[in-house]
Amino acid sequence: MSAESERAERLTELRQKFGRKPLAPGEETIPHSPREAQPKFRGLDSGHRACQGCGEALAARLVMESAGPDVMIANATGCLEVFTTPWPQSAWRVPWVHSLFENAAAVASGMEAAMKAQGKNTKVLAFGGDGGTYDIGFQALSGMLERYHNVLYVCYDNEAYMNTGIQRSSSTPHSATTTTSPAGKERMGKRHLKKDLLSIIAAHHIPYAASASVAFPADLQRKVRYAMGIDGPTFLVIHSPCPLGWKHASALTIQVARRAVECGLFPLVEIERGALTNVMPIRDVRPVTDYLSIQGRFSHLMDTEDTRAEEERAHLQALADYNIQVFSLQGDGEDPVDTGGSAAVGRSGHAARRA
């Protein structure tokens, strides 16, 4: 088959794939399938089996784009692991290993030690959900940080054990309902507070620990790139809404995540060597109810007749206010150069990316 006719056939195939009429040979030339020719690194490809509107899949995709191909991943058990690698398929395009729920940090430590022993610079990433990070994998993570492995640990925080069907974790926010912290006559959802993991991580005095949100991808990817450049342990917790577990429409994933930031409940901060070095300012602070009211997991708090609900709302508002105060989240006004907190887009993409 001649190169010409091969190209024509390819074109026809692509056209058919994308629902367009086949063109005559030579009418248009396309070097690759457009999927292959995307101007970003697709470390996590399509065909994975995450739920519609999955925040975690999105977060992982964004992380991979910024981390690039010269990485290897240790992935804790969880949704991300399950939906990306149902044998014989894998959505990953980087070396990836899943071992167990609680040992991603330790497996990553071993991979990093191997890279060191082999004299290679391939960066090791560890991925875990909040269950595998805040809870069961916490010890291994602490050990990894203490031993100063050159690993970027990314926690995809969807605030409950989603893989097993929405059970509370120590990351579940106060008063959210899960199947193990349901709201009922006696209880208003989870009784305990969301663990302040980032402070604990920061107390390890590591070079860089930060929080990010899928609603602010440019900020998220900047943080990944920054962490990738550090030779030492770094930590990123990414707020990743779960439409199923948080009970919101799958199209609202970004909106929910954004509001969590905008109300102060999920502050986006950067901590270097234990010191707060940067925060994403909140441009217009929203009341927490703007965040709570669009999620079913807080629906019991929206009962205006129930004084307990009012109290819990006030409590969550106080927690948000506390964050805003402690992290000085209200910026010092508008600086034309400062794109922090801005989601603005323009004709060439996100404002922060263009800046």
């Binding site: 992935n75 070396p95 290993v97 497996v107 071993g110 291994a140």
Partner: protein, 391 residues
């Protein structure tokens, strides 16, 4: 060159001779001296390895898993509770078919707390899919450790080298350590066909649905069965190379014509041998079976070794409460369909570090003629020490 070395020290040196890229271990009695000696070798620059001093056995196993998956030779050691804390990872390592070597300084498992030797720990992970080789003395432990790296690599199965805690790990005796150049020539550099490599990015540790899980386990079982030949062959090669062998899968000594056989694993074997040597003429001689490869289980070798025996005493250094002996049960199962198979007498002894005196030989032999002897007993339990209800 022969040297008087403590078992743990010898193991550390043997490991160093195999040049692991990554070692991760968490100290636990009686494995501690191995880790200490390795740390010392690293500190003195005699061993060039990434020594990862982890915060738990769980992480130790996880670290070596990651390192081996990433293409590095890796090693760890543990015992007892450490084995159990690792258990989840051990199954995982085996399931992923990652070649690793681990020393288990066999020790009882709590509760009650016992720091002394028995085989409960490695027995607890019997079904994890690891190869388990038992050393009868420190020379065997050293030789088996070096062999293990090759076995692991050739079979892509992880290998557990079991040596009795304290009894071997803390015993100083003359040991021949091969020269570095010899080991370098015998043990090829580490290779792992599925290593994590950005140039060929595979995904390890996938989710397998019911329609394929059975095949995974089938393949694993088949690989273990195939490993029998590999273990035997590598011990043969080692013998040709060093003049020493460890007994392949199952070694038979003692009186080949005896009608009574005694099977033991690990350091007990030497005591039984000595016991037979020193026993009076009335006691009679026995055929002695040293079981080295516990997993994979050398069923064929056992059937052959048991040929012509009327009685076979199987010594367990662990117990499966509610069933009895573990090795004994398996030996009985393996010989069940053999015509004229010997009667199995199964006894657990030496649990939790109970000293096994050389007189045990005579005591065991005496049970053969005792019509009241039970098919299984905790042989050295003293009825006097028991609550009357429990006797």
């Amino acid at each position: 060159m022969l040297k008087a070395l403590e078992g743990s020290q010898a193991i550390a040196r043997a490991v160093a001779l195999c040049r692991p890229d990554v070692v991760a271990a968490y100290p636990i009695t009686p494995q501690t001296h191995i880790v200490e000696n390795l740390s010392r070798l690293v500190a003195d620059g005699e061993m060039h390895t990434e020594f990862v001093s982890v915060e738990s056995e769980f992480s130790a196993a996880s670290v070596v898993l990651g390192a081996a998956a990433a293409g590095s030779r890796a090693y760890t050691a543990t015992a007892s509770q450490g084995v159990l804390l690792m258990a989840e990872v051990l199954f995982n390592i085996a399931g992923m078919r990652i070649p690793l070597v681990m020393t288990v300084a066999n020790r009882a498992v709590s509760a009650p707390l016992s720091i002394w030797n028995d085989h409960s720990d490695s027995m607890a992970v019997r079904d994890s899919g690891w190869i388990q080789l038992h050393a009868a003395d420190n020379q065997e432990a050293v030789d088996t450790t070096i062999q293990a790296f090759r076995i692991a690599q050739e079979t892509e199965l992880p290998v557990m080298v079991c040596m009795d805690g304290f009894i071997l790990t803390h015993t100083l005796e003359p040991i021949e350590l091969p020269a570095q150049s010899a080991v370098d020539g015998w043990l090829p550099p580490y290779q792992f066909s599925r290593k994590l490599d950005p140039g060929d990015p595979k995904s390890l540790g996938t989710l397998v649905a019911p329609d394929f899980f059975a095949e995974v386990r089938h393949s694993h079982h088949a690989a273990m069965i195939k490993a029998l030949d590999v273990i035997e062959e590598i011990d043969r090669e080692w013998h040709a190379f060093t003049g020493r062998r460890c007994g392949g899968l199952l070694e038979v000594t003692g009186d080949p014509d005896a009608k009574i056989g005694i099977l033991a694993m690990g350091s007990t074997f030497g005591t039984i041998e000595t016991g037979m040597e020193h026993a009076g003429p009335d006691t009679g001689s026995a055929r002695l079976l040293k079981l080295r490869a516990y997993r994979p289980f050398p069923a064929e070798a056992l059937r052959k070794a048991a040929e012509g025996l009327d009685h076979l005493i199987v010594i367990d250094r662990a117990i499966s409460p509610g069933m009895g002996g573990i090795v004994g049960t398996e030996v009985a199962a393996v010989l069940a369909d053999v015509p004229g198979a010997p009667r199995i007498h199964n006894h657990a002894l030496g649990l939790g570090g109970r000293d096994i005196p050389e007189t045990i030989y005579a005591d065991l032999m005496a049970t053969i003629s005792d019509p009241d002897a039970p098919a299984f007993s905790v042989f050295d339990a003293d009825p006097e020490k028991l609550d009357p209800e429990d006797r």
